[in-house]
């Protein structure tokens, strides 16, 4: 069990390092000048050169990378080119917002996907299955920003039951916090539930045709017992392993959703960083998003492993 966690953790570190390198290169290769963005389009060549020298942008790329990485490891992510605020503390402030949003969205996605997927699998190739498949296709085709707009239009502007945007920390006002986060979480969660639903359905269909399900039925177990006791956990194990990978997709939507709902999260910072070519901000926030995705991945993966006795209980005496 502990070995399991340790091996996953050991794989975590090199992954983060590799991602940081890819991120750094991408940001620097993309055309556009940080200096121009910071100083304005009519900045003189001299001013630009001075800015680049001050920020160390005239150094070779590998030196810049190692410098950034070294400082980053000590928690120093530099200061913004734009507002000259330290990036690190800014991130620490914004991270809980994004984490809460992603967790809520993932929960919503699973609450939709698992029961509906199970229902579809149980009624495989019958009417309920077809109806659910159509629903899944529609959900999967809807872009989350569109769903977000529709939700705001209906729930915030027409019916006026929920605020359209903004943020309040959970610790200060839990109710307000939830009322502000429910729409963004729905727009992300509902859309990603489509894919999870299909995975759940496929996995359960697979499990339901296996020998141990026949064994359970031969014992005289009723269908609901067969599903609950014998099939669901087996299906969940493979579902989560695949689902963990798909979690990254869900996160891709965070950037836009945070912007739409005016949530001061990390995603918003990514967007600001891109628009302003604010390298320190962009690099640090994008890296944070990556770390969160990887950590969530690892967590889901670990839950799947814990559900599976074949991974937790190693083979004992023959």
């Amino acid at each position: 069990m502990w070995r399991l966690i340790a091996t996953r953790l050991a794989a975590f570190v090199p992954t983060i390092l590799a991602t940081s390198l890819v991120l750094f290169i991408t940001v620097n290769v993309v055309p556009g000048s940080a200096a121009k963005a910071a100083l304005g389009i009519d900045a003189t060549a001299q001013a630009i050169a001075r800015f680049e020298h001050e920020q160390g942008l005239d150094r070779p790329l590998h030196v810049q990378y190692l410098d950034w990485l070294g400082k980053g490891l000590r928690g120093d992510f530099g200061t913004s080119f734009q507002n000259h605020l330290a990036v690190g503390p800014e991130l620490v402030m914004r991270l809980p917002v994004t984490l809460e949003l992603a967790t809520l969205a993932f929960l919503i996605a699973n609450v939709i996907a698992v029961p509906l997927g199970a229902l579809a699998a149980y009624h495989h190739q019958r009417r309920a299955d077809r109806i659910i498949s159509v629903i899944a296709t529609i959900l999967g085709a809807v872009p989350s920003f569109w769903l977000a707009t529709v939700l705001i239009l209906i729930l915030a502007l027409t019916v006026k039951v929920l605020p359209a945007g903004g943020y309040a920390p959970f610790t200060e006002d839990p109710l307000k916090n939830l009322s502000l986060l429910i729409m963004p979480a729905l727009s992300l969660g509902v859309v990603s539930s489509a894919l999870l639903l299909r995975i759940m359905r496929a996995k359960l269909i697979e499990v339901l045709s296996s020998d141990y399900i026949h064994t359970a039925m031969a014992k005289g177990a009723a269908p609901n017992v067969v599903i609950r006791r014998h099939a669901l956990r087996n299906a969940l194990i493979t579902f989560l392993t695949v689902g963990a990978v798909e979690f990254g997709w869900l996160f891709g939507g965070v950037v836009i959703i945070e912007d739409i709902f005016l949530l001061p999260g990390v995603g918003q910072l990514v967007l600001v960083g891109i628009i302003n070519r604010d390298y320190p901000v962009l690099l640090a926030s994008a890296l944070t998003v990556t770390v969160v995705v990887l950590a969530a991945n690892m967590l889901v993966d670990l839950i799947a492993a814990i559900l599976d006795p074949r991974q937790v209980h190693v083979r004992s005496r023959a």
Binding site: Y212, H214, T215, A221, V225, H313
Partner: protein
């Protein structure tokens, strides 16, 4: 398929078109799903071909062996686990109370099949359906499982419907034999009579193709041809394509004809012999 149909577990797409399935005089075909469920596990239980895949990988062995008590006797899980441990001891699993807490992947193939047997005899059903229960096991383990099944038959007074293609196992295990081919019973009779005087050309060929200590050195005989596909069965006798004795009459399906007392075979040759 035979075993699955006896348990009423055929896939939705399959239906039983002719014949009947009777257990101690009651037809199983007319029963509702709930009535069938009451019979499964209580009156009929199954010992599978591949114990590894027949055990649920995420449930402890004790839970799986004890489950019939929960399903049919409304036992608590605690009581069911106690019963499971008793049954695991019945099938001579060493350290049953420790083993009950382990998972199937921690067991060897023989131990897995012992557990499946413990599960099957949990509620002492009058009928066990053993579907090639030893094909997935090593030879030495096979012998142990066969010994166990004989012991269960004698001690628990259980009938065993034993499905196998291994004639040595038939000779060792069975009292009454049905020889099946392409979905038909071709011959039936007591094990002694069938081995002493096989009435059907298929049975005769099978016996010739089985190595014995005398013939072990010689080349193994096999029956030429292959089993007809179920969607393209021959007209008349099912064995007609591969039978060396076939004659005009064989394009009509023969009934079961007497070979001797309590021994019949589905072959026209017997009609010629007797009348």
């Amino acid at each position: 398929m035979t075993a699955l149909s006896v348990l009423g577990l055929l896939p939705r797409t399959a239906t039983i078109t002719t014949g009947d399935i009777r257990l101690s005089g009651t037809s199983l075909l007319g029963l509702s799903r709930a009535q069938l469920r009451a019979i499964r596990g209580q009156h009929i239980a199954m010992i599978p071909q591949n114990p590894m895949s027949a055990l649920n990988p995420v449930l402890r062995v004790g839970v799986q062996v004890g489950e019939p008590y929960v399903l049919h006797r409304q036992a608590t899980w605690r009581a069911a686990l106690q019963q499971a441990i008793r049954r695991l001891a019945d099938v001579h699993l060493p350290f049953p109370d420790e083993r009950a807490r382990e998972y199937p992947h921690q067991f060897s193939g023989g131990m897995q099949q012992r557990s499946m047997t413990a599960m099957a005899i949990a509620l002492e059903p009058p009928l066990l359906v053993a579907d090639e229960p030893t094909t997935a096991l090593d030879v030495t383990i096979q012998a142990q499982i066969l010994r166990l099944l004989r012991e269960i038959r004698d001690e628990h007074h259980t009938s065993i419907l034993f499905i196998t293609h291994d004639l040595a196992v038939v000779a060792e295990m069975c009292d009454w034999v049905y020889v099946m081919y392409a979905g038909r019973i071709l011959e039936q009779g007591s094990v002694e009579r069938i081995f002493a005087r096989p009435g059907h050309p298929y049975t005769q060929a099978l016996l010739r193709a089985t190595p014995t200590t005398e013939t072990a050195q010689a080349e193994l005989l096999s029956i030429p041809g292959s089993i007809p596909s179920p969607v393209d069965l021959p007209r008349g006798c099912r064995f007609v394509d591969r039978c060396q004795y076939r004659f005009d009459h064989c394009n009509e399906e023969p009934p079961l004809l007497a070979v001797e007392t309590d021994h019949t075979a589905r072959c026209w040759l017997l009609e010629t012999v007797h009348g």
